[in-house]
Symmetry: C2
Subunit: 125 residues, 2 copies
């Protein structure tokens, strides 16, 4: 049986391989992608494959840090390596009953300054 | 049996209730918290309870959007409401064999401008 964890592992492997046929085969016809930080949205398999294949026109690589799956939901934490450095990427996935990915919510946190208000409560690593 | 999903649900409920005894009871003695965006770290239950109880000196509330648990790992997506607005918070958890939380990696993504390079591939919501 293919689990949500397996589906997300295959999703990132296909992206890293630029195997857009394999990538698309993991997606529901009416997949919806959302990036809440920019409020961007992509609807439908073809548009979403194109977004991934054409939207990031630089040399990028994905290293999976963590995948957690439970029933028809999963989350992943990747490190996204690009020419200017590496950034974490965090996704939450909802799968349809047939195991294909129906919804993706994608977050890209960036570095920021430690607030002075809690600096006395932490150390740095 | 208590699952990783249940432990994380209890963690957020205790935080929202400011029930620091219940919150602390979910943590391993040597829990490690890390915020990769600032490279801040807190080690140990007492220090981590204090960080949460004292580090955010404003009126905040947590609404859980998603918890995903798998064996000794979990991820959560919350909305953190504070006076200046609501921000998503994303955590990855590792549990010790006794079910207590041993490691927390915490991300706080912020709004940013949609890059022009992919604007033709998305819509806004």
């Amino acid at each position: 049986m293919t689990t949500a964890h397996d589906v997300v592992a295959a999703y990132w492997a296909a992206a890293e391989a630029r195997d857009w046929d394999a990538f698309g085969a993991l997606l529901a016809d009416d997949v919806v992608y959302r990036g809440p930080q920019t409020r961007e949205q992509v609807r439908g398999r073809d548009a979403y494959v194109r977004f991934n294949a054409e939207g990031f026109a630089f040399d990028w690589h994905i290293r999976v840090q963590r995948i957690v799956g439970e029933q028809l939901r999963a989350a992943s934490w990747i490190e996204f390596a690009r020419p200017e450095g590496t950034q974490p990427g965090l996704c939450f996935f909802d799968l349809a009953d047939d195991g294909r990915i129906a919804q993706i919510t994608d977050f890209w946190p960036e570095q920021y300054e430690l607030p002075a208000s809690r600096a006395h409560l932490v150390e740095r690593y």
